[in-house]
């Protein structure tokens, strides 16, 4: 496990931006590096809390999640979904070619 690292360099920022599929300019990357470094520096305070043996809390509710029958229900027509597509071909979402050549 790595230690909380408060200094974010530009290479790390660009690596994270790539993981998040976010294109950011060099000036945006510089700003984000400075701002998030300050934020993470402040967040270092958490290291002082003893959490030995504490189960992470991922949802605040005690209620059990309800299950339902696995049945298909047709509620909307195809058109209402495809209507928002940036590009379409009939009933289909149209995407640019992703294979070169």
């Amino acid at each position: 496990m790595k230690k909380p690292d408060s200094g974010l360099d530009l290479a790390t920022v660009q690596k994270v931006a790539n993981l998040a599929r976010l294109k950011i300019s060099d000036s945006e990357a510089t700003a984000i590096a400075g701002q998030l470094s300050a934020v993470l520096e402040n967040f270092k305070q958490l290291a002082a809390v003893d959490t030995t043996g504490i189960e992470p809390l991922v949802t605040p509710t005690d209620l059990s999640i309800r299950l339902r029958e696995d049945e298909a229900v047709v509620e909307k027509d195809v058109e209402s979904f495809v209507a928002n597509a940036p590009a379409r071909s009939g009933n289909l979402f149209k995407v640019p070619p992703v294979v070169g050549g």
Binding site: A31, Q45, L46, K76, P96
Partner: protein
């Protein structure tokens, strides 16, 4: 009838009692939006079909059938809630032209009860912010003083009511986004218990924290709206099956013997003198009504901001992965031909604003290999400890009272370039979301400069009843607070 300054309950009663038609009410508030919103900028869009909805309410009344518990009440809906056939943008460029094929459960329930969706209100993009300055349509201005922010992220909803462009509104609250703008704009606003209100059709920010709730001019209005939108929903498996009380009929201002806990850590913080004075006055008012004031301790709450921002941004980085320009939303035309990754990252880079990018980056970093344990996991462990602290405090008190915010509203532009300072602003509100508890902002006074200040109430899970009772007691005690109105009216 002074429609402008009427509450939702008064409007509902007048419409049902045929003193005014739903259509007249809708036109009145639509006119006010037309007249005032160029200054306030609270609305992203107005609803072209609002008059048709109002006419349907009037037709029901004419026929003698039940027009519903919110008959003819115009509601401003935060533009984070999907509205079928009506553009829903999350105040983001990436959803600038998105028209949802369905409505959020909250919207369906309001409309089924006769409420009229008057328009969609501005927010910090994807609900990420505390000032409503991160909106694609520009900053929203506080009707109490247009140089100041209305708070955020439900700043448009709050400003719409404060300027009396709608008598009631729906906001969402992930870390204070209903309570803080309610405090800044002099309104009642409640974040219900996690699970009380269905999240279906509400654009997700952080799924383990998000809840929608009402903002309004009275306790009773909040009660009426909340009982209308609450309850389990087949489309949200985290919505609770627990019974929804008829709060609007059962709440009482009787707080005799009620134990009001003051968390000493909240009062130890360096506090704005106006906030401290107003908070002390609210405590005194409850004491006068017979409440018992007790000290409680929540030592880990001082870590709520880092825990909140690590959890919220981690969840957001996952939730916002869906905006890839394929099926809906903005698609870049500048990507390298045949490069799918470049198409995704260009679309997202162009579509998201700077605060959203910053938070996706923080969340991605907190979840990335090698940092997960130190950030996301650590935060989730401290989150459990914070929740335990609250449950423990509720052994010795029935309601916890604190400030909503460290200060009254600040000026537009004052904090926008310092994200850390903006985040630290959320110290008093984020812990209720982390613990899943209900929280409410109640108007309690004014700063020397004349800006509203609220106090925050928190109760046990699903104990909104007690919270409404205390809110009503404060509302009745502090009549002078309610009597003041923003100049823009």
């Amino acid at each position: 009838m002074d429609l402008t300054n009427s509450t939702c309950t008064e409007i509902r009663d007048a419409v049902r009692g045929k003193k005014v038609s739903a259509l007249e009410v809708t036109r009145h508030f639509a006119d006010r939006i037309q007249k005032l919103d160029s200054k306030v900028n609270a609305f992203v869009s107005t609803n072209d079909r609002a008059e048709d909805a109002a006419k349907m309410v009037d037709a029901k009344i004419a026929k003698g059938s039940d027009p519903g518990a919110l008959a003819g009440v115009p509601m401003a809906i935060k533009d984070l809630l999907c509205t079928k056939g009506l553009k829903t943008t999350a105040s983001s460029k990436i959803l600038a032209n998105f028209v949802p094929p369905y409505s959020a459960t909250v919207v369906n329930r309001l409309e089924a009860a006769g409420a009229v969706t008057i328009g969609k209100t501005s927010l910090d993009e994807f609900a990420m912010g505390s000032s409503n300055e991160n909106a694609a349509t520009g900053p929203v201005h506080n009707p109490w003083n247009l140089e100041y922010v209305p708070g955020g992220s439900s700043g448009g909803s709050a400003a719409a009511i404060a300027a009396r462009m709608a008598p009631g509104a729906i906001g969402t609250d992930t870390g204070g986004s209903i309570r803080q703008p309610a405090s800044f704009c002099g309104l009642f606003g409640i974040k219900p218990t996690y699970g009380r209100v269905s999240r279906f059709g509400i654009i997700a920010f952080a799924s383990s924290l998000d809840q929608a709730g009402p903002m309004a001019l009275s306790t009773k209005d909040c009660a009426l709206i909340l009982e209308t939108i609450s309850g389990s929903c087949a489309h949200d498996s985290t919505s609770a099956t627990i019974e929804v009380p008829k709060w609007s009929e059962i709440i009482t201002e009787d707080v005799k013997g009620l134990r009001v806990g003051l968390p000493k850590e909240y009062f130890a913080e360096k506090m704005d003198s106006d906030v401290e004075r107003v908070t002390r006055e609210a405590i005194a008012a409850l004491k006068d009504k017979g409440a018992v004031i007790v000290d409680v301790s929540l030592p880990l709450v001082k870590h709520a901001v880092p825990v909140y921002y690590l959890v919220a941004t981690s969840e957001a980085s996952s939730n916002l992965a869906r905006y890839d320009g394929m099926r809906f939303g903005h698609r870049s035309t500048n990507a390298a031909h045949g490069d799918l990754d470049d198409l995704y990252s260009s679309s997202r880079g162009e579509g998201f604003g700077s605060e959203v990018k910053r938070r996706i980056m923080l969340g991605t970093y907190a979840l990335s290999s090698g940092y997960y344990d130190a950030y996301y996991q650590k935060a989730s462990q401290v989150r459990r400890l914070i929740r335990n602290e609250f449950l423990n405090a509720f052994q010795t008190c029935d309601v916890i009272l604190s400030p909503v915010c460290t200060s009254p509203a600040f000026k537009v532009g004052e904090r926008i370039n310092d994200p850390l300072e903006m985040y630290l602003n959320d110290i008093f509100t984020t812990s209720t979301n982390l613990a899943g508890l209900p929280g409410m902002s109640v108007p309690a006074g004014y700063s020397k400069a004349g800006l509203p200040i609220g106090v925050q109430l928190m109760t046990r899970h699903f104990d909104e009843t007690r919270m409404f009772n205390v809110s009503l007691a404060l509302e009745n005690s502090l009549q002078a607070v309610k009597a003041r109105r923003p100049n823009v009216i």
